[in-house]
Symmetry: C2
Subunit: 395 residues, 2 copies
C-alpha cells in the first residue's frame, strides 16, 4: 500500500504539524471540544475551521454537538471518525495475552483476553499473529500499526529476557510478518508509565517517574509524555541498579539488584519461607496476613527498600510526580508510615519541604495496553504517516 521498496516520501515540512497537534490533544483529552482545542493550541478560529474540515474530509475526525455550557454558540466534540485509522494494542504476559483496537482518542475497542495454551515461544507468537490477522480481518485498511507491550526486557523488536515466561532472546517480528504492518515493541512497565503520563495520575507532568512492582520492579522516566527508552528501547530497568546487597546475584547477571529486595521473593526470604513459584500471587497472599507480626516486619523491610530507592531516583531525576503500580500500591498501603519516613529520609534536604507526590496509578491493569495504544497512535499520527493516509484516502 504505502511502502513497496521505494523510499517513502516525507511530508512537506510543517505540512501536517497542526493536524498532528490536534490529534495528539484529542488522544490526551478524549472528548475535548473543538473550541477547547483552539484555545489550547492558540489557533485562530479560521485555522480551526480549516484544520477540522481537513481532518473530517480525511476520515480522521467527526464532530458531534457538545452539551451547551451557558451562552454562546454551541461547539462540537471532536471524535474519531468511524472509518478512521486504528492501531492494535497487545500485551503479552506470563499467563496469557490481551489485545484491543484503539481509535485516535485512545478508546479501546474489542478488548480480548486469552490464556496461553502453551508457553512455547512459537506457539505464543502464532497466537499473537492470529490475533493480528483477526484484527486485520475486522478493520482492514484502517489498521495501521501493531503495538505490543511485553513483560520483559525489550530491545528494538526483540525480547531479550523474560524471566516470568522463562524465555531468552526472541524475535517478535513474526507477529506482523507478511502483513506489512509496523510493529512497535515496548516493555510493559514503560508503557504503563506512558499511560499514566498521558491520561493517568501523572497527566500534565513534564517529568514523571513511574514504578511498578510485579516480579521485580520496572518503570520508566517519562519526559513530556515520552519514555526515556534509551538507545535500543531497553531503558527503564530500574530493578537492576545496585540499591541492594552486593553479595546477592540477580538472574539478570548483575549483583545487588534492587529487584531482589522488593517483591514476593524478598518477602519469602524475610519470612524464612521457601521461594514461591509465583512471587506475585505469593506477595498478594502475604499482604493479606498483616495481622501477623513477622509479616508486618517483612512488609516493613520491603516497603522501606522500595521507598528508599524511590527517594534516590527522585534525587537523580527530580520528577514532578511519582506513580506506583502493581504491588507497590498495596505495599505502601500496608506500611504507610514506614514508606513515608524512608522516602523522606532518602531525599536530599532541599526536596523535603515539598517532595514530589507519590500517587497510585489510575490505570493499573489496563495501563500497559493503554500505553501501547498511545505509542501506536503516536506512530500513525506523525506528519509523514498522516500524509500517507491522506494520499490513500484521496484515491
Amino acid at each position: 500500500m504505502t511502502a513497496r521498496g521505494d523510499v517513502k516520501p516525507a511530508a512537506r515540512r510543517g505540512q501536517w504539524q497542526t493536524a498532528t497537534d490536534v490529534l495528539a490533544l484529542i488522544a490526551r483529552q478524549p472528548g475535548i471540544t473543538r473550541a477547547a482545542v483552539a484555545r489550547e493550541l492558540r489557533l485562530s478560529t479560521s485555522s480551526t475551521t480549516e484544520v477540522t474540515a481537513r481532518l473530517r474530509d480525511l476520515h480522521l475526525l467527526t464532530e458531534t454537538p457538545a452539551p451547551t455550557q451557558g451562552r454562546g454558540r454551541p461547539t462540537t466534540v471532536l471524535r474519531p471518525h468511524p472509518r478512521g485509522p486504528v492501531v492494535l494494542a497487545m500485551e503479552l504476559r506470563q499467563a496469557g495475552w490481551r489485545s484491543a483496537a484503539a481509535t485516535l482518542d485512545g478508546v479501546l475497542l474489542n478488548q480480548q483476553s486469552t490464556r496461553h495454551r502453551s508457553r512455547r515461544p512459537d506457539a505464543v507468537l502464532a497466537a499473537l499473529r492470529a490475533g493480528v490477522d483477526s484484527a486485520k480481518a475486522e478493520y482492514g485498511d484502517r489498521l495501521l500499526a501493531v503495538s505490543l507491550a511485553v513483560a520483559g526486557t525489550v530491545r528494538e523488536d526483540h525480547l531479550m529476557q523474560a524471566p516470568t515466561l522463562g524465555w531468552n532472546t526472541i524475535d517478535l517480528s513474526p507477529v506482523v510478518a507478511t502483513t506489512g504492518l509496523p510493529l512497535l515493541v515496548g516493555n510493559d512497565a514503560t508503557l504503563s508509565g506512558v499511560a499514566e503520563a498521558r491520561t493517568g495520575a501523572a497527566a500534565g507532568a513534564g517529568t514523571a517517574l513511574h514504578l511498578i512492582v510485579e516480579v521485580g520492579i520496572g518503570g520508566t522516566l517519562i519526559i513530556d509524555g515520552s519514555p526515556a527508552s534509551g538507545a535500543t528501547g531497553a531503558g527503564g530497568e530500574y530493578g537492576h541498579i545496585p540499591f541492594g546487597d552486593r553479595r546477592r546475584t540477580c538472574p539478570c547477571g548483575a549483583r545487588g539488584c534492587w529487584d531482589l529486595e522488593i517483591d514476593g521473593r524478598a518477602l519469602a526470604e524475610h519470612l524464612h519461607e521457601p521461594q514461591p513459584d509465583d512471587p506475585y500471587s505469593y506477595a498478594e497472599a502475604v499482604l493479606q496476613r498483616t495481622t501477623e507480626a513477622p509479616v508486618r516486619r517483612a512488609v516493613a523491610k520491603v516497603t522501606a527498600a522500595l521507598a528508599t530507592g524511590i527517594a534516590g531516583l527522585v534525587n537523580a531525576h527530580d520528577p514532578e510526580v511519582v506513580t506506583l503500580g502493581g504491588l507497590a500500591v498495596p505495599l505502601r498501603a500496608a506500611a504507610p508510615t514506614v514508606f513515608g519516613t524512608a522516602y523522606s529520609d532518602g531525599l536530599m534536604t532541599f526536596h523535603r519541604a515539598n517532595p514530589p507526590a507519590v500517587l497510585d496509578s489510575t490505570h493499573q491493569q489496563t495501563g500497559a495496553l493503554r500505553g501501547a495504544a498511545a505509542v501506536g497512535l503516536d506512530e500513525i499520527t506523525t506528519e509523514t504517516a498522516l500524509a500517507n493516509w491522506a494520499d490513500r484516502t484521496i484515491l
Copy 2:
C-alpha cells in the same frame, strides 16, 4: 526591548521552523557548508536559497566561500553574522568564575577567568553582575541572554546547595536584574554533559549518560541533546542515589550516597588519612602516588565503586555512550582492569556482548561553559525569539 509588561506575541506556527533547524545544525557542526545543511535537513535547493537569504538579511548568518572539493559549483560556509546575536556564558566555581560570549556557532569569544576576591554570596553575585554589564557594554543589543553554569544543585534560577562554596539557598537573579536579559541557570555537570552530547564525545548519540567526578559525582542523562533536568532543573544528582553504605550520612541529608564512595574523601578514608580540605586536589595528588600499594588498593576500591554505579545506570537508562569527566578520567586510567571488570559485572547479561562505550570527555574544563553557551543559544533561536529578533532588525 522585547518584554514590556505586554504579552509577547508568539511566532506564527511553523514560521521560523526551518530557520531554527538551520541554526541548530550550525551550532552542532560549526563550519558546515550551505550544501551540507541542505542535505542534512533534506531541503530543496530553492528552500535553501530562500532560508539563507532570510537569515543573511536578518544579520544572523554570513556566507564565506568554502574550499572547493572536486568538481561542481563551489558552496559557502555558513558563519555567524558579525552583527548577529550573542549569549554570555558564565561558570561559577569554587575558586572563581569564568565567562565568554558565544556566537551562533558556539564559538567562545572573550574568554575570561577571574578568581573570587571574597566568597561572600553578595560579593560574588556583584562580580558576576559586573561581568554581565561589561558584556552588555561590549555587545549592546546583540547580547540576548545570560547562561550560567553553577557547581551546585540548581532549581530554576536559585542555587539550592553548593557545598564547595559553603552556600545555602541563593537567588541568582541579581546577576541580570534590571538588564532585562533572561537568565538561564544550570548545574555544571549537567551542562558539561550537554556540551559532550552536542559537540563532544557523545555527539550524535540519541541517549547519552555523562558523569563527572570532582567533589562527589554529578552528571546527566541527555536525550537528543537535551538534558533530563527534571521538574525544577535539579535533575542529574546521581551522586545522591544510594549506591553506597547506608550507615553513612551524606551532607545532602540522605544516606548511602554514591557521592561518598568515589571522590577524594573516599580515597582519604581508605588510606586512613585525615579528610582533606580540598578533596579534588587531594585526589589528584593521591593519583600521583600509585607506586604505593595502599594507594593502588584505595584507587581500585573507588574505581570499582564508580564502575559498578555506572553499570547500574547503564542498566537503567540504556545509553548509547557514557562520557566521563573530571577525576573519573584519571581514576579509570589508574585502574583500567578494575574498571572494566566492575563495569562488565554490573551490567545485565544481554548488555555484555556489546556494552555502551565509556569515553573520556573531549571538552573537559571548558565543558560547562560550552554547555551553558549551547543552552543559551537554544534559548535565542526558538521560533519566538527569532521572530522578535526579526521585528527588531527590520526597525
